[in-house]
Amino acid sequence: MVEFLQLTLSGIVFGLVYAAIALSLVLIWRGTRLLNFAQGGMAMFTTYVAIEVIYRTHSYWVGFAVALAAGLVLGAACELTVVRPTLNKPPLNSVIVTIGLLTVLEGLAGILYGGQYRSFPTAFSITGLRVGGTALGVSRSDVFVAAAVLVATLVLAVTFRYTSAGLRMRAAAFNATIARLSGIRVARVLTVGWALAGLLGALAGVLVTPSTFLYPNSMDIIFIYGFTAAVLGGLDSAVGAVVGGLVLGVALSYAGGYVGGSVGADLTSLVALGILVTVLMIRPDGLFAGSRMRRV
């Protein structure tokens, strides 16, 4: 029973990190109808920026803030330079372009920072928390991770729902033509969307890297799971992204914990595949796909 609690809680924490990546993918998908394969790479890069700042300033929070700002800038920059020209072309082109972007970012990180594994600090203690006598399996740091993602999600949701800027983004995502005819500068909206996605990715990066260590490919598997979570929930649904992330995080935690030994740990990707295939066979557009099924 205790093990169940521990696995569930740690599954939720990781699940929220996947949810953050999933959310950033959904944000970009809804705005530009393309899948940003470079999302993990962008998060990795901003985490490198963060660690350099932390070394120089000896302050975690300054590094944290700079990472988020770098995420905004990097997201906008990528959209403006590399993605914008591909928007009129077949979707496969933008997929390849983002893969190219990923490759460039990973190579650059290798050149600028070297390939060795680096450790990344946490803001809070990583000792397991206890309630009464039982170990919860999560630490203060983990609670911070969960809280940070939840707060970010909430802020985004509120922004989208209740502000003019959010309305502009939604209108542009639902029907770019009507939006433009009403005077919305859709191009600008797209850039903002990418900037926000970059911010979310950067957040996920600094939150998860203490566990994965920092190296040019450190965000690859996180991206894959985030991607899986987004696809599970249906790429059009922000709620789906969060639910997908939680479901995946918890399921993988159980798989790793209960199936015992190294077999379990290695088979998490197989479990993820199993979940994904099962869900997609029943609902090919994801769990939360609306009746408006867009064929890509």
């Binding site: 928007l87 979707p91 064929r295 890509v296």
Partner: protein, 361 residues
């Protein structure tokens, strides 16, 4: 010059085989190894190019199919001592079956959902190899011993033999793919790619066509995996990462999606470019880490530039040049370089493309 008839295709294959044979004799052992590598990639990339370019289905997990073929070959060679050609056929069959399974699961999936599922497939397959180290050798993998047969004589270099075998296998696969391309099966694929609703209304079994495409392309990857086993001598999970799957797709796209010559151009690029650039980098005194990463950056930049400037890839560019010089109005209706899609509302000048389909009024 069109490859519409079988005699023409065979003729071209023979010419290429002769060229490869001559090259491998003239060049050194390392070049022989590269020829074998290129042949291996061509086999896998051609299959993937057919899947994505002709039938419109994207796969980011073809590295996984290569792993299936490679491990099957390695196990047969190691434990049962089978000759290579027999192991090759079995590896092809096993991978075909895997392709059928994936194809069935993927038949209803589109675009990003398909990309996600195949990506995860590629990762999961190698995880299986690691999870059962008793059978699959774990992280260390399986060693494969491949020797020259007695009839070539004692002085025949192993690398040259590897190059010849790989090139032969690759050419056979290419000829078979070309046959498929011009057959009714190929036409059905293109119909399904362009508009699956219309194809279904035409009586084409869309799901069957898509699964068939997966089986064919997986088999090609499996054969390439078998080649990998005998060329590199080692079958380990580290050889089948996401990077490989991505490299296959990008080679297919840069070379020219849906075209067989494109598979060759793309494979040449991914084998030769990194080595070339690393050589330049280290000769300029850059550290080995930097030297190893520069080709990666260069590769990404090339990808981006090709997509932005010439999405039809190298083969498309070549055809354009040929047309410009010889004024031939070659309609590439059979070799479509990029799958037709539903264009989305864009951020700049022409958002009305969806309305174009409804016609003017």
């Amino acid at each position: 010059m069109t490859m519409r008839t079988l005699p023409r295709r065979l003729g071209l294959a023979v010419i290429v085989a002769a060229i490869v044979a001559v090259l491998s004799i003239k060049l050194n052992a390392f070049r022989d190894y590269q020829i074998a590598e290129i042949a291996m990639y061509v086999t896998a990339v051609a299959g993937l190019s057919v899947l994505t370019g002709l039938s419109g289905q994207i796969s980011l997990g073809h590295g996984g199919f290569m792993a299936v073929g490679a491990y099957t070959t390695a196990l047969l060679l190691l434990h049962l001592n089978w000759p290579f050609y027999a192991a090759l056929l079995v590896a092809a069959a096993v991978t075909a079956a895997a392709g059928a399974v994936v194809g069935v699961a993927a038949a209803r999936l589109r675009g990003p959902y398909l990309a996600g599922a195949t990506l995860l497939f590629g990762v999961a397959i190698t995880a299986v190899a690691v999870a059962f180290p008793g059978t699959f050798g774990g992280d260390q993998g399986l060693n494969v011993v491949f020797t020259t047969p007695s009839f070539v004589g004692a002085n025949f270099p192993l690398t040259r033999w590897q190059a010849w075998v790989s090139a032969l296998v690759a050419l056979v696969v290419l000829v078979l793919l070309a046959n498929l391309h011009y057959s009714r099966i190929g036409r059905n694929w293109r119909a399904v790619r362009d508009d699956d609703v219309a194809a279904a209304l035409d009586g084409i079994n869309v799901a069957a066509a898509r699964i068939r495409a997966f089986v064919v392309s997986a088999t090609c990857a499996g054969i390439a995996g078998a080649l990998l086993a005998i060329v590199t001598g080692l079958v380990a999970p580290g050889a089948f990462t996401i990077t490989l799957s991505i490299a296959l797709l990008t080679a297919a796209v840069i070379g020219g999606l849906g075209t067989l010559p494109g598979a060759l151009w793309g494979s040449l690029l991914i084998v030769l470019l990194p080595v070339y650039i690393t050589d330049i980098a280290t000769s300029h005194g850059l550290s080995s880490t930097v030297g190893a990463n520069i080709p990666i950056v260069a590769y990404g930049v090339v990808l981006i530039l090709v997509m932005l400037v010439f999405p039809q890839g190298i083969q498309g560019a070549l055809r354009w040049v040929i047309n410009a010089f010889f004024g031939t109005e070659q309609k590439s209706r059979t070799w479509r370089a990029a799958p037709a899609t539903h264009v989305t509302p864009s951020a700049d000048e022409t958002p009305a493309s969806q309305h174009e389909k409804e016609g003017t009024s």
